[in-house]
């Protein structure tokens, strides 16, 4: 980093720190902790207030192994004790992830080749918690009168998911068709939206770093909005096909006031896939 850039960055931090200190003491203190809005029936509103714009700015979470809350409720990333911009340490660097042996091997393989075969690079959608870790804006649209909630994602592949809030169970047996996003049913536990998801196919990774999963994956998501500008996301990853016990990941998703969704069609001109070769140098697409 050049010294000019360093000075600029340092100045930005000083200004930000000053602003934070001022905001905590000054007259805008009440504004900085504006409570989450509610719908007419008192349910937390996880989306926009009528008359205002805004989207959730989904962060780029590359490695869920750093997002496991400790006894203090904070993750290594939130404590600042680990960085995704460092090297790739593979499974041995993540003692809190309960890999089964094959999952450990696949994860190390994905680490060694820098996630060369990431399905998102093929313009396939993220599934499970990675929906909340792929950095494009997202909106949550509640329709209590229809007993359903939509989550609309600009990114990944311009996709949406529907969460059934009408009390229905998951389909059983062959009625449960494995899909990228799975089958989501939700309910409110006080102010927490709890979403239970099953029925995933095996075409996605849990994250960019390449934590694998199987079609036995069962995810329990918890969404809370502690303030107007923060969505807390937590996901229990229960996959006995890949992990010896369930593990939990969590992070915050900031609100971007004034933001709106735009279009993103990943498949348009995906040159990465056209020139991707396998470990033997052969094209991944097309005949040999």
């Amino acid at each position: 980093m050049s010294s000019a850039r360093y000075v600029a960055l340092a100045s930005a931090f000083v200004i930000a720190a000053f602003y934070t200190a001022w905001a905590q003491q000054g007259p805008s203190a009440s504004r900085s902790v504006e409570p989450a809005p509610r719908l007419a029936d008192g349910t937390p509103n996880l989306g926009r207030v009528p008359g205002e714009k805004g989207v959730w700015n989904v962060p780029y979470i590359q490695n869920m192994g750093m997002r496991i809350p400790g006894p203090d409720g904070k993750t290594a990333a939130e404590r600042g004790t680990a960085s995704e911009n460092g090297g790739r340490g593979g499974a041995k660097a993540e003692p809190d992830v309960p890999f089964l042996p094959w999952a450990r091997g696949i994860y190390d393989y994905n680490s060694r080749n820098n996630s060369k075969y990431d399905p998102e690079g093929y313009c396939l959608p993220p599934g499970g918690p990675r929906l909340m870790a792929t950095p494009y804006p997202m909106e949550i649209i509640q329709q209590p009168e229809h007993k359903r909630i939509f989550m609309v994602f600009e990114g990944a592949t311009h996709i949406w998911r529907e969460i059934y809030m009408d009390g229905r169970p998951h389909p059983q047996g062959d009625e449960l068709n494995p899909t990228y996003l799975g089958h989501s049913v939700g309910h409110w536990d006080h102010d927490t939206l709890v979403v239970d998801v099953v029925g995933f196919n095996e075409n996605t990774w849990l994250d960019y770093y390449g934590h694998p999963h199987t079609d036995l994956l069962h995810v329990i998501e918890k969404f809370t909005r502690p303030t107007k500008t923060t969505l807390r996301y937590e996901a229990l990853i229960d996959d006995p096909g890949a992990y010896s016990k369930p593990w939990t990941v969590a992070w915050n998703i900031p609100w971007s006031a004034g933001g709106e969704l735009t279009e993103y069609i990943c498949q348009e001109n995906n040159r990465y896939l056209l020139k991707l070769t396998d470990d033997f140098g052969e094209p991944v697409l097309g005949g040999r």
Binding site: F18, Y60, Q62, N114, S115, K116, Y136, G155, C266, N269
Partner: protein, 134 residues
């Protein structure tokens, strides 16, 4: 003083909160962050497309005068527009300076992280998939 600081802080906050990176394929699989470049040339082509906008420059080697056509990958149009771009920001014939990371395979290809237009001096972030680029 307080107003100025607030304006600066607000500007920084806005920049950070409205400039998500594009994350499509693995940055590290294709590009080498330890091979930075800064190149100046003349725009020959602009493909304003998903998942990456790609533009090409004719770059003249100062010593040999040999001209090589390079291509550079940026983010997708949605990410670029949040960083102040439009489809007409780069035009054929414009002189621009690009900073970024070189392709691992040694081809005249790079991941652009910032672009400066010679005509205006304006520096625009390229919505790179490299996470620490901004």
């Amino acid at each position: 003083m307080r107003t100025k600081l607030l304006v600066a802080a607000a500007a920084i906050t806005t920049l950070l909160s409205t400039a998500p990176v594009a994350a499509h394929h693995s940055f590290a699989a294709e590009f080498d962050a330890s091979k930075p470049f800064k190149l100046t040339g003349v725009v020959t082509k602009v493909e304003w497309q998903n998942p990456h906008t790609i533009f090409s420059l004719d770059i003249t080697d100062e010593q040999t005068k040999k001209v090589t056509n390079w291509s550079f990958e940026m983010g997708s149009p949605n990410g670029l527009m949040r960083n102040g771009w439009t489809r007409n920001t780069l035009k054929i014939g414009d002189v621009v300076t690009v900073e970024g990371s070189l392709a691992r395979d040694g081809s005249p290809y790079g991941n652009a992280q910032a672009v400066v237009l010679a005509s205006t001096g304006k520096r625009l972030f390229a919505a790179s998939s490299r996470t620490d680029a901004q």
